[in-house]
Structure formats: C-alpha cells, structure tokens
C-alpha cells in the first residue's frame, strides 16, 4: 500500500470537517479557536501534499503564508478573548450576543 496524495487529501478532509464541526458545535471561545487552527492546518496539509505530488513549490509557499497569517490571527484573537474574559469571567460565545438586531 503506497502512501499516495489521496490519503493525505482524505486525512485533510477529515481534519477540516472535525474543525468545522468544532467551530459550529462548541461554545467555548478557546476551543472554537483551536478548531479554526485545525481547519487551517488541514488546508495546509492539502497544499503540501499537492505540492509534493505535483513537484511544484508554490503549495509550500502558500502554506508558509497561511502559517504566518495564522500566527498573527492567533495573537489578535487571543487578545480579544482575554479582554472579554476579563470583563465577563466567561468564554461562552453564546453569551456574547449584544449585537443582536
């Protein structure tokens, strides 16, 4: 059984679905955040796998961009979560519904 790109794609799809489910189903802001990271890395995996399979380097470049952007996003996102936690002593996103129309 050879390890073809298809396996990586399948794994990435499973990880992406897990992440998406986590974002939608969990109410803890930190867990949602981790789920988003999971989705991002699932996409990274497809990039790398495709890059390897096709023998092209662009996929890996894209992955590096995603990692950099994700790092920046984590910084901002965590800062927001910490700020909210300071005020509410809670990380339940369903409680933060002040913008209801």
């Amino acid at each position: 059984m050879t390890l073809t790109a298809g396996w990586f794609m399948g794994l990435a799809a499973v990880l992406f679905a897990l992440g998406g489910a986590g974002v939608l189903l969990r109410r803890n802001a930190l867990v949602m955040f981790m789920s988003i990271e999971l989705m991002l890395n699932a996409v990274n995996l497809t990039f790398v796998a495709a890059s390897k399979a096709l023998g092209q380097v662009e996929g890996q470049v894209a992955t590096l961009f995603v990692i950099v952007v994700a790092a920046a996003e984590v910084t901002v996102g965590l800062a927001i979560i910490v700020a909210i936690f300071h005020r509410r002593a809670s990380a339940d996103v369903d409680e933060f519904a002040e913008l209801r129309g």
Binding site: V23, L24, M32, V93, F96, L99, G101
Partner: protein, 625 residues
C-alpha cells in the same frame, strides 16, 4: 443728449441701490436728501433733453441699449418722444416734490433710509415703464412698479392691515399683469416683434379686427389692474395703509397713471378695434361714477381721496378710450398736480393731528394750519373743476370730446357730467369736514403747521394746480401740438370745433360744479355734522360691499381650495407616499434584523452553508458532478 436718456432711469436706480446698502449709515435726513436729489436730477435732465421737442429741434428717437433676448430679437430699447417726455416730467417732477415732503413726514421713522430706497426704486420702475421702446421693456417696468408699490404699501409691515394691503395690491395687480402678458404674447405671435415702432406702424396691415380686439381687451385688463378701474380697483383704497407720501406717489405720479399711459401709447392698436374703444370708455366712465358715489360717504380723510383718484383715473381712461389721447394725458398731468397736493395736504393734517384720519374728529383747522388750508382750497377748486384752475380745462376737454363724438358717447358724456357734480360735492364735503366748521378734535391733541419741507412742496404744487390748465386751453393747444409726434398714427377725438359749443359745455359743467359745491357747503359748514343716515349713505360707506363680494366669490373658495390641498392632497396623498415609503423600509429592516442574532456560531453556520452552496454550484457548473 437723447442717447443718454438711460440716465433718467439710472439716477434713481443707483440712488435706490446706494440707499439699500448705506441708508442706515446716511441716516436722517441725509438718505432723504440723496433720494430727492437723484429724482430732481432726473427731472432736470428730462427738461434739458426734452425741451427740444417744443421747438421741433429734437425728434422722436429709439435708443438701443443692448441686445437683451437675441433668440426673440428683443433688445433693450428706450423710446424718447413727447409722450414719454410728458410722463417723465410728471413722474420725476411730482416725484421729487413728494420725496422732499417725505423727508419731513417720515421724520423719526426707524427705517428712514429704507423708505427712500423704495421710493427711488418706485421712480426708477415707473421711468422704465414710460421710457420703454418695446413691450418687453415696458413689461419689466410694469412688474417693477407692482413690486415697489407692494414694498411701499406694506412699509409699516408690523401692522397686519398694512401687510394685508400690500399683498392685496400685489395680487390684484397680478390679475391685471396676466392680461398684459397675454396681450404681449398675442402681439408677438401676430407681429414677430415687440418693438413699438414696428408694431404700431404695421398694425393696420397685419391685424384683423378680431385680433386687434383681443389684444386691446387684454391690454384693458392690464390697465384696469394698474390704474385701479372696475373691476380691479379694490386694491387702491386699501393702499392707504402705506405712509402718506406713498399714497401721493401712487395716486399722482406713478402706478395708477401707468394704465392710462399704456392705452395712449398703444393707441394705434385701439384704433383698429372700435368695440374695444367703446368698452374702455365705458369702463372708465362707469368707474368714475361708481367711485365718486363711494367717495361721498367715506369718513377717512385719505379714503375719500383714494376713491376720488379712482374716479379721476376713470375720466382719463374714458378719454384715452375714445381716442381723445391728448385730453386724457392732459387730465393725467393736471390730476398729478392736484392729487399729489391733496394727498400731501392730507398727510400734513394727519401729521398735525398725531395720526388721526377720521374727518369727524377734525374741523376748524383753517386757522391752525393756514398754509395747508389755503393750498388745499386751491386743490379743492382744481379737482372740482372750477374756472380757471387746472381741473376745469382738462376735465372739460375730455367731456367735450365725448360730446363731439356723439352716439354712445353722448350717454357717457352725461354720466361724466353728473360725476363732475358728485366730485364737486364730495370734495367740498372733504374740505369742510377737515378745515371748516368747529374743531372736533379732542383736547389732548395739539395741531400745528408742518415744517417747510412739507409745506414747500404744497405751495409749489398749488401753483402748478392753478396754472397747469394753461398747458392746453381751447385757443392755445400747446400740449396737443407738443404731443403731436407721438400720436401721428392715430386719429384723435377732439372737442367740438365751434368755440361757442365748447363754451356752452364748459358753462353747463361749471353750473353743475357750483351747484355741487353750494349743496355740500350748506350741508357741511354747520356747527353739527349732518347725520348721514339712510340707505344711500350706508351702502356707499361700505363701498357697495364689493370687497365682501370678492371675498366670498374668490377669496373664500380660494382658501377652501388651499385648505383642501393642504389637508387632502398634501396631508393624505403626498404625506402618504412619503410615510408609506418610510414604513416599507422600516418593516423590511425589522424583518431583516431577525437574521442578526448576535450568535457568532450561527453566523459561522450560515457562512459555512454559503460556502457549501457555492462549492456545489461550482462543481455542477464545472461539470465535475
């Protein structure tokens, strides 16, 4: 010299512009003197540049100022001919005296400078009207006169009655202006030009009798508005709400003479429409009679004079209506003198009595105000038509021309003759109630003679009222010869040829006039005023309730219509559309706002769903699935 006649208009116009901006700074009496000087300068300039017509060294000329509406071929042109000269001299001469008088009369008014700015504007507007070389320029002057009269009548706008009178004058005048404007359109449609020379010169070839009748009747509508004739005279009595110099200006020099002048100017068109001429003459003479009967019973010192003006203008319209243009213009000139004199005298009395206008509270002023009294005696004799003062000559020239014309005009002549009797009666009543008899004013009023700036113009106008008749006596037709170049295109109606008939007619009217004076004198120089009770006095005191009639027939339905528009059309339909639009948007917003739950996870779900839909759509269209 003729090329510069635009200066006549420019002088008072510049005066008005300067006074609008600097009137307050110039203050009292500087602003008044500036205004007076500009009008007097116009008068002097008009004398200098018009005197050549007497000797025949100057000829009528059209002066082109600039191209105004090239698309219609309308230029801004002025016409300088004897008729324009006559009007200009009256407007600026009498106008300057009224300006001078107003310096004294308006003493202490908080808007002194503004008043003189308006007066100057009024003179400039009237000069634009009389100097116009085509109908378009005339219309500009026509409208400006309406505007300035509005500003002046409602000058004391703090008083609701003054504000209402100003609006009334303006609106009633607009009805007349409508006729004038439509006449202009018909003229342009028929001739393709509005130039006086072309229109009058080619009128006999271009116009059919029908078109000429339509045009002239529309012009008559315009004249009845500006000249306060039946049925549009109602604004003039109310115009008394303005300061007295304004009344004098409106009644004597500017404004009400505009209609008479306009008919005289367009005589070449009226000549083609005998029916219109008969209608104009009838309107004039009926107005003369109608207003005279109302004047008899008025108690306000200025209202008597207001109705008297309507009546006298009626004579002028009568004159120009039957093509006795010289006679009409002659009466216009003499009337300008004695009516300005009467109004300024009335103003002097009102000034002396601290604002009292009810003649029943006057009387006995002859010793207190000798200058005013004696000048008023002259004015009274002049307007009544007593030999040899001005009114005698001009009024009898009109009546003589009517008598000579015969037919329908004989009937009109009889009415005019009877009106002369009424005129003598009500003017004698006016003089007696004001100056003669016993004093009836209350003890806390201390009448005094007016300052020289007010009595000076009175004396000058008294001289003019005495001797102006010499302008055109039956044996020396100076005015007629002077005006000849302006009336070359028309055949004038003239008084009878025979000097005997003329003398007999004059004698007849003189007898009636003396009769009127004697009757009124016996009645009103008694210690107690007569009661004036009875149906006639009651009906005429209220002016036949014409104002109420117009109020019911035109004003009330108009108000009802506006109320309906305000409530139904605006309140329901227009507001309904606007509010409905607002409600729709708000409802849509409310429906959409339920989507904004505030739950981050639901947004994420929608977002995810959207991605999924797009993905499927892309795959389907890409042919993958």
């Amino acid at each position: 010299m003729t090329d510069l006649i635009w200066l006549l208009i420019a002088l008072p116009a510049v005066g008005a512009a300067v006074l609008v901006f600097l009137g307050r700074r110039l203050g009292e009496p500087g602003a008044g003197w500036l205004a007076t000087v500009t009008v007097a300068a116009s008068f002097a300039f008009a004398v200098v540049s018009g005197v050549g017509f007497v000797g025949g060294t100057v000829h009528p000329a059209t002066v082109e100022l600039f191209s105004w509406i090239p698309a219609l071929g309308v230029d801004a042109t002025l016409l300088w001919d004897p008729l324009a000269v006559t009007m200009t001299l009256v407007v600026t001469g009498v106008g300057a005296l009224i300006h001078l008088y107003a310096i004294g009369y308006m003493h202490g008014d908080p808007r002194f400078g503004r008043f003189f700015a308006y007066l100057n504007l009024f003179i400039a507007s009237m000069l634009t009207l009389v100097l116009a070389g085509n109908f378009a320029v005339m219309f500009v002057g026509w409208e400006l006169v309406g505007l300035s009269s509005y500003l002046l009548i409602s000058f004391w706008f703090e008083r609701p009655s003054a504000a209402a009178a100003g609006k009334k004058a303006f609106i009633v005048n607009r009805i007349g202006d409508w006729g004038f404007l439509v006449a202009l359109m018909v003229i342009f449609a028929a001739f393709g030009t509005l130039d006086f020379g072309t229109v009058f010169g080619s009128a006999p070839e271009v116009l059919s009798v029908g078109t000429a009748t339509v045009i002239t009747l529309l012009l008559l509508v315009g004249a009845t508005g500006k000249s306060a004739q039946l049925p549009l005279y109602v604004w003039l009595p109310d115009a008394m709400e303005g300061p007295t110099p304004v009344s004098a200006l409106i009644h004597a020099a500017t404004m009400v003479t505009a209609g008479v002048y306009m008919i005289a100017r367009t005589g070449a068109l009226f000549e083609l429409a005998p029916v219109s001429q008969a209608i104009v003459a009838t309107v004039g003479v009926l107005t003369a009679l109608f207003a005279a009967t109302i004047a008899i019973s008025q108690r306000d010192i200025k209202r008597v004079l207001a109705y008297s003006t309507i009546s006298q203008i009626g004579y002028m319209i009568f004159g120009v209506g039957m093509a006795a243009y010289t006679a009409g213009m002659f009466h216009l000139v003499t009337h300008a003198f004695f009516k300005a004199l009467l109004f300024l005298g009335a103003g002097s009395v009102i000034h002396a009595l601290g604002g009292e206008q009810d003649m029943r509270k006057m009387g006995g002023l002859r010793t207190v105000m000798p200058v005013t009294f004696w000048t008023m005696v002259i004015a009274w004799l002049a307007i009544s038509g007593v030999f040899p003062l001005a009114g005698f000559w001009s009024k009898d020239e009109i009546l003589g021309a009517a008598f000579a014309k015969g037919g329908l005009y004989t009937g009109l002549w009889a009415i005019g003759l009877f009106t002369a009797f009424l005129t003598a009666f009500y003017m004698t009543r006016w003089l007696a109630m004001t100056f003669l008899g016993e004093p009836r004013w209350s003890d806390d009023v201390h009448p005094h003679e007016s300052p020289w700036v007010m009595t000076g113009p009175l004396v000058i106008l008294a001289f003019a009222s005495t001797f102006a008749g010499a302008l055109n006596t039956p044996w020396r037709l100076a005015l007629e010869r002077f005006l000849e170049p302006s009336f070359e295109l028309v055949t004038q109606s003239l008084p009878p040829e025979s000097i005997g008939v003329v003398a007999a007619l004059a004698g007849l009217s003189l007898v009636l006039v003396v009769l009127g004076i004697v009757v009124a004198w016996r009645r009103y120089t008694t210690a107690e005023l007569p009661a004036e009770a009875g149906r006639f006095w009651y009906v005429t005191l209220h002016g036949y309730w014409v104002d109420d009639l117009y109020g019911r027939v035109f004003v009330l339905p108009g108000k009802a219509l506006s109320a309906w528009f305000a409530a139904v059309l605006d309140g329901t339909v227009i507001d309904g559309i606007v509010n409905g639009l607002g409600r729709t948007v708000r409802g849509f917003g409310a429906a959409m706002s339920t989507l904004q739950s505030g739950w981050v996870r639901s947004y994420a779900a929608v977002f995810g769903g959207g991605v999924l839909v797009l993905l499927v759509w892309t795959l389907v269209h890409g042919g993958v699935i």
